[in-house]
Symmetry: C2
Subunit: 530 residues, 2 copies
């Protein structure tokens, strides 16, 4: 027996239709790479998207085709998403910070037919054009010429009806660049994206409303900017995009456009703090700072909270669309001490409806939610990957559990805490030492700009931690200072056997510490048995 | 080409699983009809639901079977919903205020197999038991005997796995009692209920969060208590249920349990105001008052806003699950005058993602959003009815538009305003007079408790309005007073040709004015040509 409700497929074009119809005058502000600024609105984005869909069809694109972007955040990138998806295509956001071989691999693997790119990435296009074997058309997002976005869409009349289809058809492709092997593509569906967006607007996740003014510092090529361009259409939020992520530019934009919601990785806030300290300026209208990508140090959370801004820790990954968990004020928030609040917000947050999480111990059994039993974090749900693009095998087990590669624990209140990446855990004498916790404790020491903890071979304990430290400019912090600071924050047997100062640390294209390279670099580092 | 995301059916049991797992200790408080109070939590509701599912199977129930309730709001009713749905059944909430013939019709039409009912409705059961031809088992929700809910569920061990199935299978059945003809059943699906709940928690609709403490004054038999028992499971809200809706009881409960969210029809607030005026007590922790079912008068909105409480006007109907539109603070809220805010909140709100609305004029064309062109309101979306239960014909047109029977207009900002029920509009000289607006204006007159405007035959204008008024106790308000008051609020040609005082007005089972009866009663009332 079937129920008596309407069929209404969960398709992404419904998002832009809703935004254009119900929030059409809500602004979309773009600060371009050349320093100019332009204003559009949801109705304008919808118009451009329809025209782009026509232009893509004119170029020969058909439903299912991949349309790539190599672009920062701005209105044309937003219109490109909705236009490509609206003509039945799959928008493929490419991270311009990837290495050439990766850029070549993923565009060819995706079989992209069109590339829309920012002028600032012209050198990449010039270098790789010959190696990209499937791209037939190039459109310059911020170009003034006949191959520019504006000229391309303005040649069309916009009288266009979105391509209809089933909700389990794909709409978006994002590659994850692991530290080993080829990048893998996660192929989002209309259904997964719409459910993710519907869930995402809730107070405990993105906390969007029609009054929200959102500046996504996180790039649109990074896990779909955490789904904000879709969730924002549901809410009718105003967006403020910046094609450059300089703290002075962001702070100025935030204040001029009265930005209430920002979202980015922790390093964004390190730069913002430096700007605030140097100039005395600060974001004045901010209500919520969503931080994800990697864990925000406690001191950072405390400083932002001190500005009267709600800090929301978000955990997720490209494979989870990407929202997995997010911190939120629980029922007892009003009677919690500042210390309890910081402890709580320092974790990766609570599990929303739509996400199921479990932690699996070494013996393969599910760990209790006791705040101490850690293990491999697994996830499943309607916006979690089942199979990578073109993969022969499923990415999940028989019960749909996807192994995140993170090591985590669950607290009795249901909050989740990432303790490490599984491959970065330091295994000392059969016990696990969290490299992330060591690093977070270290950056709390005055004079430490950044720190990386890795395990190196030890004749007695198998592995022992060493700490690689980048000093803040002008700081004379010593190994003994750091050692003393750490001793007050971690167990004695976690203390690194050596503290080494370096000028800089290697990072992945998405800004994460490149531990594989560090382990390779220090593989011959010798510790002696104590 | 299909995308690479997981299949994860949108099934209602996932809601209670989520609530029990992530918000298990969040309380569910029940104030029973006999004045006692009990406390459970989401984990307790889930346990009872699993045991009830076992008990229902033991009674012979199978997936697809209808399980009926005749009950007020309390924890057992909540567990009954999740238990019946969890065993694959369809929960059928019966409105105990219906007339006997309707109660007989709908239980037989639904082919209910089990009835769970409150002791206070024992007289109904005694009267109708012989006429209900399909009900095999009776369970007393608040009964102490062997046929009581507690004994029934405690005989089971709770080791139960929810019945799995497709998301388009039905989960709930609600009948609408129109003013003519047999009630019609709306058969909600798992999919429609979960999408409705996911959408419903947003700030612009129910505005739920894990910190919300919700007292749904609206009964669970009235359009699924506006979906709150499902949306609340997503949010992990605390619920405070009362089996009686006396203002003194509600006010006391609200303050003792620190209720932040209430939801009910306007008359709830009339009673609460009387209680506040008489005792000096008031709900002290309330943050949001959601008002639906019929339009809240401006004076009511103003007084509640004056208490520092956000007023949310909700429009919907059983056929829309029921959320259609809801008022919310738009981007310009902070710079609006009090008068502008009242104008805005007095309307039925904005259109959320998932709902499409249009207004169709007399000539069948779509009306512009100009704030003045009214017509029949039509709606479609994933939680809107397609076909009534057992109906041969669809309830919608070829494009899925459902005609609500309301007359409405859309403002340029996208807010919707109900001006009347289509059948209650007064057609005077080819122009429309809104009976609802006349009534709202009349109750703003000192001394008027309730008012009903109906059209009666007029030899020259075809129809003219007359106003039937119930005075407040002790009030000596005259027809001239009311006439003078109305003259300041409505167009001159809208002024009623007669004002008649009556002791009371007839209402439907859901508390709405029974205009059909009034029109019948006054059909021979004669107005003379002026």
């Amino acid at each position: 027996m079937l129920g008596g409700m309407q069929d209404w497929e969960l398709r992404v074009p419904r998002l832009i239709d809703h935004a254009a119809r119900e929030h059409g005058r809500r602004e979309i502000v773009s600060r371009w790479a050349d320093g100019t600024q332009s204003r559009s609105d949801w109705a304008g984005i919808a118009r451009d998207a329809k025209k782009l869909a026509q232009a893509l069809e004119r170029m020969g694109c058909r439903p299912g085709d991949r349309i790539a972007t190599l672009a920062m955040n701005h209105a044309h990138h937003l219109a490109a998403w909705y236009g490509a998806i609206g003509m039945g295509g799959v928008i493929h956001t490419i991270n311009p910070r990837l290495f050439d071989d990766q850029l070549v691999y993923i565009a060819n693997h995706a079989e992209d037919r069109v590339l829309l790119y920012d002028r600032q990435f012209q050198p990449i296009v010039d270098r790789l054009r010959e190696r990209w074997t499937t791209i037939e058309h190039y459109v310059v997002m911020d170009g003034d010429g006949p191959d520019g976005f504006r000229a391309t869409v303005d040649a069309e009349d916009g009288a266009y009806a979105w391509v209809e289809g089933a909700e389990r058809e794909p709409c978006m492709l994002c590659y994850t660049s692991g530290t080993t092997g080829h990048p893998k593509g996660v192929l989002y569906t209309h259904r997964s994206s719409v459910i993710h967006a519907l869930a995402g607007v809730a107070t405990w996740l993105l906390n969007f409303s029609p009054r929200a003014v959102v500046l996504p510092v996180v790039p649109m090529f990074h896990a779909a900017a955490w789904g904000m361009p879709f969730a924002g259409a549901i809410a009718g939020a105003k967006f403020v995009f910046s094609a450059v992520n300089d703290a002075a530019v962001l702070c100025d934009l935030m204040n001029r456009e009265r930005v209430t919601h920002s979202a980015g990785v922790p390093t964004v806030w390190l730069a913002m703090f430096a700007h605030m300290d140097a100039t005395g300026e600060a974001p004045r209208y901010l209500e919520q700072a969503t931080i994800g990508g990697s864990a925000a140090p406690r001191a950072m959370i405390e400083r932002i909270m001190g500005m009267g801004v709600e800090v929301k820790h978000l955990w997720g990954m490209t494979e989870t669309s990407p929202i997995g968990t997010a911190g939120t004020a629980p029922p007892g928030w009003d009677v919690m001490t500042q210390g309890e609040r910081l402890d709580l917000i320092g974790r990766q947050g609570s599990i929303p409806f739509g996400i199921e999480l479990r932690v699996i111990g070494d013996d393969g059994s599910e760990q209790p939610r006791d705040g101490s039993s850690s293990g491999r974090l697994q996830v499943r749900g309607p916006w979690v990957v089942e199979r990578y693009f073109k993969a022969d095998a499923s990415a999940v087990d028989a019960d749909n559990w996807f192994d995140t590669g993170d090591v985590a624990l669950l607290h009795p209140d249901g909050t989740m805490q990432i303790t490490d990446r599984a491959k970065d855990v330091i295994k000392s004498g059969g016990e696990w030492i969290s490299s992330v916790e060591l690093e977070n404790a270290a950056v709390g020491c005055l004079g430490v700009a950044e720190a990386a903890a890795i395990g190196v071979h030890h004749p007695r304990w198998d592995e022992r931690p060493i700490l690689l430290v980048v000093r803040k400019p002008g700081s004379g912090v010593t190994a003994a200072d750091i050692h003393a600071h750490l001793a007050a924050h971690v167990a004695k047997w976690w203390l690194p056997d050596a503290v080494l100062f370096v000028d800089e640390l290697p990072h992945t294209a998405t800004g994460k510490l490149l531990k594989t390279e560090l382990r390779e670099r220090y593989k011959d580092f010798r510790l002696e048995a104590a």
